[in-house]
Symmetry: C2
Subunit: 440 residues, 2 copies
């Protein structure tokens, strides 16, 4: 027995109380904000039938799926029939196929839930992590794109993460741009992959990668020149005016930008070469970068081809995903001062064997009054010092102390654990005294 | 593609928005109440290393564990290395072993989380279901037992499930009782199994089962006579006075009963033959029966041998578990009238192509004011009727309607979707008008 490793599985985490409290508080803000924007929650099983998931995430993704062994007499086959959820999009597509007519159109949902990927665990990379998706299914209107982005920005602002930048682009504008440079259509996605790295490797790095990917020399030169321009946006807008796709894409993008207007806590702008890796985007794409972190904390876009996968048809859809683990990390940093505390505020000490019922009753009265309060339930020791140390350990603010004498006289001592000050008051004054002490 | 079954896996469920809302609301009440009682949340991974789970649930339980296939080059072996969480107690025992000194003693935690069991799915029996456990580790005091039961009763009361009965017994009292009837110690657990069925099969059924289990004839006769007694409790108390174990068990039980006193919303009492199936209980055992349902909605007890399983030592522990799925079912029945609604309260219609920015801005203002509000983001149709039908479908209370003329004159029409009444007001009066209409 004692040889069993008590650590959680590699790549997963146990969350102790303070950590759960911080996460739950962020989740509550996210839920409430999305609901204010008219998005409703959806929940799906942790695992899906294997056939629902396989083939949806590319060859590399398929290998990262946690598969569940068949059971009973079939276990010996070594075959899997189910698999853990890998993202929240495929389950949403399944739900759209299953409940289509029962759902309103457009269907606006958010989902905050863990997903599992058998990635090599590393710093900040987990095998079990939470995703938070917000999507609108069944609308091809730029209003749906704009409303998603406004909701995501509002969530970030309400979480206290001001100082973010929402960067927008449009897949058709990108395609038009590449066409304008004279890159053949067959090399479009290869060019996008290189362009998407601009932030990481700079203009020279992009030029080198484009050459390596056998993009025509003239195109690479024109592109590199543009990337070095003082006003990249103006240069790109001029290029886009030269192609039909470019014009149309830019028109829709400008429409979305106009609809969004300004957002509190952040800035919104056109990012001419932003591509977003995922190939399934079909229209507007966006990412949100946090200035302090210089990392993407949210991203999304329009993906009209994906949701209808189980229905065998295209269903327009637009959405976004919060980088929840990164966001929680940012919140944790900001919170080192003001720690979330959800442990008891008041501990009622138990100093002798007769004190039990009295302590339970006092704790009950304090809870009635709205406080988080508990009797000391440790066995054995009836020593005050030990109970006060326990109170301190739990982050308790005040200890209610009542020995035989106080019980007999209907009085009670209250110790402020921050100042160490102790005051004896009448029973009837206890809650008022604690209210003052706790500053509520 | 289109041949893939869009249903969730057998034994699992998709939760659509209204259902998620109901569940989340119950979870919030449970969390808040346990926190008021000084219990803190813990979260552990959905899966554990296989060795952590195997051998903990008996042979039958082991077969119901969902095992996860090894990955990559090891997938072909058909072997499993991880398994989905089967309950919340074994992960708690692992956490106690891993973080022992970092946790306060006693450690009081609750956990609300899904568990997975490969049971044959049936009516009300799921393969993925939520458990809600509350436990106190590291205290052998009856205060800890009493505080757990008070917290569980408070949760049920705050959920609105009044009319419940908390039934208590003590494993040592039961052992003493069986000894008092002259049943050999070797037949103790067999006798308990039969006794535990009293509610289901009645005194005659229990007698038949005892005989079948080769309990001595004299003992069966005495037991059957007692079970038929008008005052079973008095008869049993008299029997228990005759054995050392019986006296001690009853003493501790009476102490817990005294500490609990009365609980709001329910009754508390001694249940002389209550055994609770699980063999790991070592002291107080309890179950909570709801009168309307005549089913157990919560249960628990002291189990001093289990939590130390990974430390190779006994750690005193007491706790309880809410029958969450049954409780949710009871709440659903009670709620058919007052449905939980978390969809938008206000829909801002979009009647022409120019209305977009205006509609987004109005929805933003209404959210600032604290309302759940959204613009209509459906593509294509700009028809009012369609948008009002959508509002109705979403459970929206009021539609904000603004055509070109209202925009030009700074006025806005508000339609009460319950009464059908429509009023035009100045922009500046919109929020006050909606407050009146929504009765907030």
């Amino acid at each position: 027995m004692s040889t069993i490793d008590p650590n959680p599985p590699s790549g997963t985490r146990d969350f102790l109380p303070d950590e759960v409290a911080r996460r739950e508080r962020a989740f509550a803000t996210i839920r409430e904000t999305f609901q204010r924007h008219g998005f409703e929650p959806l929940d799906t099983p942790a695992f899906e039938r294997l056939e629902v998931l396989t083939g949806k995430y590319g060859e590399e993704g398929d290998q990262l799926i946690f598969k569940i062994l068949r059971r009973g007499e079939h276990e010996a086959t070594g075959e899997a029939d189910h698999a853990l959820r890998y993202d929240l999009t495929v389950p949403l597509a399944r739900v759209a196929a299953r409940y289509g007519s029962q759902l309103p159109t457009p269907f606006k949902r958010y989902q905050i839930a863990p997903v599992w990927r058998a990635d090599r665990p590393g710093k900040g990379r987990y095998r079990e992590f939470f995703q938070c998706d917000v999507d609108t299914i069944g609308s091809d209107s730029p209003l749906a794109d704009a409303a998603t982005i406004v909701a995501v920005a509002d969530v970030l602002d309400r979480l206290g993460l001001s100082g973010f930048r929402v960067q927008l682009n449009h897949r058709r504008a990108l395609a038009g741009l590449i066409e304008a440079y004279g890159v053949p259509a067959s090399l479009e996605s290869s060019t996008l992959t290189a362009l998407d790295k601009l932030d990481k490797i700079g203009p020279d790095g992009v030029a080198a990668e484009l050459t390596e990917r056998e993009i025509p020399h003239a195109a690479v030169r024109a592109l590199t020149e543009d990337l070095a321009a003082d006003d990249l946006e103006a240069v790109v807008r001029e290029r886009l005016a030269g192609t039909e796709r470019g014009r149309l894409g830019l028109e829709e993008l400008d429409r979305v930008l106009e609809l969004i207007g300004t957002v509190p806590g952040g800035q919104v702008g056109y990012a001419p070469v932003l591509a977003r890796g995922l190939s399934y985007y079909t229209g507007t794409v966006f990412e949100v970068v946090h200035e302090g972190l210089e990392a993407t904390i949210a991203a999304g876009g329009r993906y009209d081809g994906l949701i209808g996968m189980f229905q065998g048809q295209d269903v327009p859809a637009t959405g976004g995903s919060l980088g929840l683990e990164r966001i929680l990390l940012l919140l944790e940093r900001a919170e080192t001062e003001a720690r979330t505390h959800i442990g008891p505020e008041v501990l009622v000490t138990v100093l002798d064997d007769e004190a039990g019922p009295d302590a339970l009753a006092i704790a009950g009265r304090l809870r009635e009054h709205g406080l988080r309060a508990e009797p000391y339930v440790g066995g054995g020791s009836r020593k005050l010092g030990k109970q006060l140390r326990y109170a301190d350990r739990r982050g308790v603010r005040a200890a209610v102390i009542r020995g035989a004498e106080e019980r007999a006289t209907g009085r009670v001592a209250v110790k402020d654990l921050a100042s160490g000050e102790q005051v004896t008051v009448d029973d009837a004054e206890l809650t008022a005294h604690l209210d003052r002490l706790l500053g509520s």
